[in-house]
């Protein structure tokens, strides 16, 4: 049977209708995804941009109002405060998540007993929703029920912990809850990378008499850059999309002290009846994401290229 398939006559025979149909199957399988993803990404994003340039308020209006919504947006203190908050939050959140995560990963890498158990404990917050995370931390940080009352009842009546109710500090409560949620994730990613480091290089360093601190600083940490870039991309996305955590934790308050761009979008679209302004704010979220992600992704790409050219094939 096999030899028949190789005869010239067989090859020359025109492909049957059924065979041609069979070749179309994979394309047909992909087609629904191609169409829906195309609509969802390209059509919807353009649609949103179009609405941001219209004069829509309560209902979508398809006219052209120029950049009116954008100028009004940047004059709105709720928006500008949100952007500032995001900048502060994003920096602290990424900084501390990475710091805690990398430290934990290095400690876990010292052949500790009960590693699996500890890892489960550190990582579980990432499996929990932001709504649950926010609600839980709100109760714990609330001065009239949580930590402050706890210490007062212990007899330490001077203890004051109004992190969440103070305008100046409420943003740090958001950072605290977000770091709690993400550091286990950073730890797992970094630990996986540490385990992939070439042990021969580490041994060579030890034979040369380098201390563990030096080995980590000079050999191990520099070699886990690709994972750090992935971590950074994921945390940056989390930061820009931050919405439900803040809503559950502080409702954006006190006042507008913990408002965020993502909350502003929702508020304009579905509460304030300012569709064009909400759409414009959403466009800025997209621009922001591209601006912060592009350099990071390029860095990862350059790194991979260098590595590919550096003898690893």
């Amino acid at each position: 049977m096999q030899s028949v398939a190789l005869t010239p006559e067989f090859r020359a025979r025109p492909v049957s209708r059924a065979a041609r149909m069979a070749q179309l199957v994979p394309t047909l399988v992909l087609l629904p995804t191609l169409v829906t993803t195309g609509i969802y990404i390209f059509v919807f994003v353009c649609w949103n941009i179009y609405l941001s340039l219209s004069s829509s308020t309560l209902l979508p209006v398809y006219d052209f109002a120029g950049f009116d919504a954008y100028t009004r947006l940047w004059r709105n203190p709720r928006w500008t405060t949100g952007v500032q908050n995001l900048a502060v939050f994003g920096t602290l959140y990424i900084l501390f998540s990475v710091l805690v995560g990398v430290t934990l990963a290095i400690l876990m890498d010292q052949r500790v007993k009960g590693e699996n158990f500890l890892r489960s404990i550190f990582l579980y917050p990432i499996a929990i929703s932001f709504v649950v995370t926010g609600t839980t931390w709100q109760w714990i940080l609330n001065p009239s029920t949580g930590l402050e009352k706890f210490f007062h009842d212990l007899g330490w009546t001077g203890f004051e912990f109004s992190l969440i109710t103070n305008r100046e500090t409420a943003l740090y409560a958001v950072v605290l809850a977000a770091v709690w949620h993400a550091s286990g994730f950073v730890m797992v990613m970094v630990l996986a990378a540490l385990r992939g480091v070439d042990q021969d290089v580490v041994k060579a360093g030890r034979i040369d008499g380098a201390s563990m601190t030096k080995i980590y600083r000079r050999i191990i940490l520099p070699s886990i850059w690709p994972v750090m870039i992935s971590v950074l991309i994921i945390l940056l996305q989390f930061a820009i999309k931050t919405f439900d955590l803040v809503l559950a934790l502080t409702h954006g308050g006190p006042g507008i002290s913990t408002t965020f761009p993502a909350i502003f979008v929702y508020d304009r679209l579905f509460a304030a009846g300012e569709l064009a302004q909400g759409a414009a704010a959403a466009v800025w979220l997209l621009i922001g994401l591209i601006v912060v992600l592009l350099p990071v992704i390029t860095l990862g790409w350059v790194y991979r290229k260098q590595k590919a050219g550096g003898g690893h094939g």
């Binding site: 995804t33 993803t37 609405l51 876990m108 500790v112 579980y124 706890f150 979008v265 569709l275 994401l289």
Partner: protein
């Protein structure tokens, strides 16, 4: 053996040494302190779900139960008031299930089929699909929120289970296709070729060869989709109504209800009920959860 002797063995236990002991103590102390910080919020919530609300209000939210009650769980499940309807979280829990289970199954199935088509068949526009899918993973949901709302109302699906599930299936397909593509690309081509020589078409090869070899990635994808869709809030609150509301959206209403007396007891139980499905998945499928994180996210 001679080779092993030549190099010092770094895995060997070293003799007792005070500096080493101090560093071990430091390592464990740090890990335990951070571990306590990680476990504390959930532990506090769990203990409160077993306390009487009056005890919580009198003592503090952080405390050991002096008398234990299971009533909070009962109230939270079946009679707590959320948005003026006193049904407990039960209908919202099932609403979430009713949305999450089909959306997870369908998006995983489509992802696996797509992954197979993209990696094992010569597709003219495979790279275009791949770029689109990657963008779909990164796109902030706020940018498509308004178009989705309008499109769903055109389709007659606004504020319905079907509409929300559809949104999750379409968006989720980007994730599942990416996961499955990265897995199936390592599947030996010879297996597929052999099946083709035997005359098997696309679907036959898929059923007989790809599916039996894919349980690892199917488990990872199902865990991820389930957890992600269950925990999602923005779409859940935007595309739901009083007839159909996922548990994350209901919980936010419960949390926002400032009616004077705070019902922390059953509130805690309600929060835990909302957290249980993803937590169960995490504790029983932890290995696959971590694999999804470290492989799916890195690639």
């Amino acid at each position: 053996m001679a080779d092993a002797q030549a190099l010092p063995d770094f895995n060997r236990k070293r003799p007792f040494n005070a500096r080493l002991l101090a560093s071990r103590v430091l390592v464990y102390a740090t890990l335990i302190v951070v571990g306590l910080f990680a476990i504390l919020p959930l532990a506090v919530i769990f203990l409160n779900s077993l306390r009487y609300n009056e005890d919580i209000l009198r003592e503090s939210f952080i405390g050991w139960p002096t008398r234990i009650t299971l009533e909070n769980w009962d109230v939270a499940w079946s009679s707590a008031c959320i948005n003026a309807s006193c049904t407990g979280v039960e209908p919202y829990f099932w609403a979430s299930m009713l949305m999450v289970v089909p959306a997870t199954i369908i998006s995983t199935a489509i992802g696996l089929l797509n992954g197979f088509a993209l990696t094992k068949w010569k597709m003219p526009f495979a790279s275009v699909v791949f770029v689109a899918i990657t963008i779909g993973v990164f796109l902030p949901p706020q940018v498509v929120l308004l178009p989705w709302a309008i499109a769903l109302s055109w389709l007659g699906l606004s504020k319905s289970l079907a509409g929300l599930a559809l949104v999750h299936i379409i968006q989720g397909t980007c994730f599942t296709t990416l996961f499955c593509r990265n897995y199936l690309i390592n599947l030996p081509d010879d297996l597929i070729k052999a099946a083709r020589i035997d005359g098997a078409g696309f679907f036959r090869t898929f059923w007989k060869i790809v599916v039996p070899l894919s349980p690892p990635i199917i488990i990872v994808t199902v865990i991820w989709q389930f957890t992600f869709i269950w925990n999602e809030f923005l779409f859940a609150v935007t595309f739901s109504s009083s007839d159909f509301r996922p548990i994350t959206a209901a919980l936010m209403s419960l949390n926002a209800d400032d009616t004077g007396v705070s019902e922390y007891g059953f509130g805690s139980a309600a929060v835990l009920i909302a957290a249980i499905p993803p937590l169960l998945i995490y504790f029983f499928g932890g290995r696959y959860f971590v694999r999804g994180l470290t492989q799916g996210a890195v690639k």
